[in-house]
């Protein structure tokens, strides 16, 4: 049922992205609500039947379809056409178009309690209709679950173009994909906590350096360069950046200030220490080390003390990614000669395997912890997939025919 929309040219999308930061105006206040219709943390949750209806210009159908797909992908709603009975919540969308401006009026109504739980008017330029629709999805989601929606988040990912590795950016549903770094071999990217910067490593003229890109103006700054391999990790809430560098011979974990100064070595081992990731609260760093004879996930305090091994099953566990609540870590484990996505709980060390088809790598949590994005070769070429954390609701989101790997999810974006 997914509709196809025109894919914008790169420059145009850049403009749209920047423009979009300012142009979805919302007016009228949200009707106050206290009731949470669905407790999404409850394991025995049933799907909430929601009907969608729209009136007005042709754009109304597009907006409704996007909102419906957003909400359906969470697995907690059962979207119904407006003429099908059984809905407990109705969403009505009325759209007016005047020149290039689109106005959408949205009402969310609780049929059981006969009560309007959300009403809001949205205004946006026609060319950012999808952003407008995702904003509507976020508000509907919040009205019903009490939680913030991820429907305006984005993902960065790596595109393999005949040996070159480019950094691309796309909406969470795979639309508006465009290139942001084309120089060299680009890898190990991550989002700053405010969603404005991307930190990444790039190999140019036979040197691996760490760079920063400002998504507001697409300007690139080099943060760190030295002999050897320099691979960026992620940043802490304070802005400190964890990275792996082999400047003294062997790849070790370091931290540095947000501007690339004051680098400090945290680990010392004769083997490999790589892929450092700060925990959501910045107090700990997970990383990969082969100090025990095979690559395994380790955790230490952010100052480098208290190193402990987290994974023990199998002889190849890499690519750690923290869940937003800091209670579990997703990683790639090698099982029966294939790479699969696993999740380990920090308190009990309990392991769950989430994939079993083909090779699946590079897990990344959505900022609400509801989804995991990863790359998979289950269909050729390799592409980016999104699933819910229980492994359900799998869908491919990266563009068709593009070899896409290594997704990284943005924080909440507005």
């Amino acid at each position: 049922m997914t509709k196809k929309f025109t894919v914008h040219s790169s420059q145009f999308t850049v403009f749209v992205f920047i423009f979009s930061l300012f142009t979805v105006h919302c007016s009228l206040s949200t009707v106050s609500h206290a009731k949470v219709y669905i407790d999404i943390t409850s394991p025995a949750m049933r799907k909430l039947p929601v009907s969608f209806s729209f009136t007005g210009e042709t754009e109304a159908a597009e907006i409704t379809e996007i909102a419906k797909n957003d909400l359906d992908s969470t697995g907690i709603f059962h979207p119904l056409e407006s003429n099908i009975p059984g809905a407990e919540i109705t969403v009505s969308i009325n759209v007016n178009v005047s020149g290039e401006a689109v106005t959408a009026e949205v009402s969310v109504f609780d049929l059981i309690e006969n009560n309007e739980v959300h009403r809001k008017k949205y205004e946006a330029a026609k060319n950012i209709l999808r952003i407008l629709a995702h904003s509507i999805s976020n508000d509907i989601f919040k009205a019903i679950t009490g939680q913030e929606g991820i429907f305006r988040t984005k993902l960065t990912y790596i595109v393999d173009v005949s040996g070159k590795k480019e950094l691309h950016l796309m909406d969470w549903d795979g639309y508006n994909s465009h290139k942001i770094v084309a120089k060299g071999l680009t890898f190990s990217h991550s989002w700053s906590r405010d969603g404005v910067y991307i930190i990444y490593s790039s190999e140019r003229d036979k040197e691996w350096s760490i760079y920063l890109m400002n998504l507001k103006n697409y300007r690139e700054t080099m943060l760190f360069s030295s002999n050897g391999l320099n691979l960026a990790g992620n940043s802490s809430p304070d802005g400190d950046i964890a990275f792996s560098s082999s400047k003294d011979g062997s790849p070790e974990i370091y931290v540095m200030n947000a501007d690339g100064t004051g680098s400090k070595k945290l680990t010392k081992s004769i083997g490999i220490d790589v892929s450092p990731v700060f925990s959501p609260d910045g107090s700990q760093i997970a990383f990969v080390s082969d100090r025990g004879g095979s690559p395994q996930i380790y955790i230490m305090h952010a100052d480098g003390t208290g190193i402990r091994r987290l994974t023990f099953e199998g002889n190849y566990n890499t690519s750690p990614a923290w869940a937003p609540d800091g209670k579990q870590i997703a990683y790639v484990g090698r099982k029966n000669s294939n790479n699969q996505i696993f999740v380990v709980k920090l308190d009990t060390s309990e392991i769950r395997q989430l994939t079993d088809k083909g090779n699946n790598e590079s897990p990344a949590f959505s900022p609400d912890g509801m989804f995991i994005a990863f790359d998979s070769d289950r269909e050729k070429p390799k592409g980016i997939y999104v699933m819910r954390v229980n492994g359900e609701g799998l869908k491919k989101i990266s563009p068709k025919g593009v070899k896409a790997i290594s997704p990284k999810w943005s924080p909440f974006l507005r």
Binding site: G163, K165, L185, F187, S188, E203, K206, E207, W208, G228, L229, L231, S244, S246, G249, S250, P251, G271, I272, V274, S275, V288, S294, P295, Y316, T318, S319, V332, R334, S337, N339, E361, S362, I405, S406
Partner: protein, 192 residues
């Protein structure tokens, strides 16, 4: 000042001469399809003659040939030297120097000793079964292991550079042990 003009001239010559060596294949794809190939060529040639005399054209061709042949010679020399170096191969998820790799690295060390004008870049590579980022670290360790071996064999460390490409520059893409083994390598590239 003379040199400056010479540089300008070369840049000009290279820039202008391109269409003569290899005309743009399809300046207007839609039009080119309709027109006969001969006519397109004639139009191109006529367009260029406006700005250049035949003598100038000749001069450009010679200059371009000179530039190319110099570059080609250099490249050929590097390729010839590099062909004497075989890749040092590794076991899966390992950066230990194998017995069969020692002879290969010893050969590199002795060639570097004889030919003092060249330096070496060791590229560390991996097969594609591991994860990309870990493989970059693994490739780095492989390149460093070979570098350490070369140093112990008497090569000065300032003549050796290393780079890791992880699994990003494979020599083959088949999913079998033969191909995986060929990709788990330290490759030697000659630099100046």
């Amino acid at each position: 000042m003379k040199n400056f003009f010479a540089v300008i001239l070369i840049v000009f010559v290279i820039g202008c001469a391109k269409p003569y060596i290899k005309p743009p294949e399809k300046p207007h794809p839609a039009k080119a399809e309709e027109a006969k190939p001969a006519e397109v060529k004639k139009e191109d040639a006529a367009g260029e003659k406006i700005s250049l005399t035949p003598a100038e054209v000749k001069k450009e061709e010679v200059a371009v040939e000179e530039v190319l042949s110099k570059k080609e010679k250099e490249a050929a020399m590097q390729v010839k030297e590099e062909s004497a170096y075989r890749d040092a191969l590794f076991d899966f998820d390992s950066y230990d120097i194998r017995t069969d790799a020692r002879e290969i690295i010893d050969n590199v060390a002795s060639r570097l000793k004889k030919n003092k004008s060249i330096n070496i870049l060791i590229e560390g590579h991996c097969d594609d079964r591991g994860t990309n980022e870990y493989n970059l670290a693994l490739g780095e360790k492989r390149a460093n292991a070979v570098k350490d071996y070369l140093i112990s064999a008497g090569t000065p460390s300032n003549r050796i550079n290393t780079i890791s490409y992880g699994e990003e520059k494979p020599v083959c893409t088949e999913q079998d042990e033969d191909c995986w083994q060929r990709n788990r390598r330290a490759h030697f590239a000659v630099t100046k």
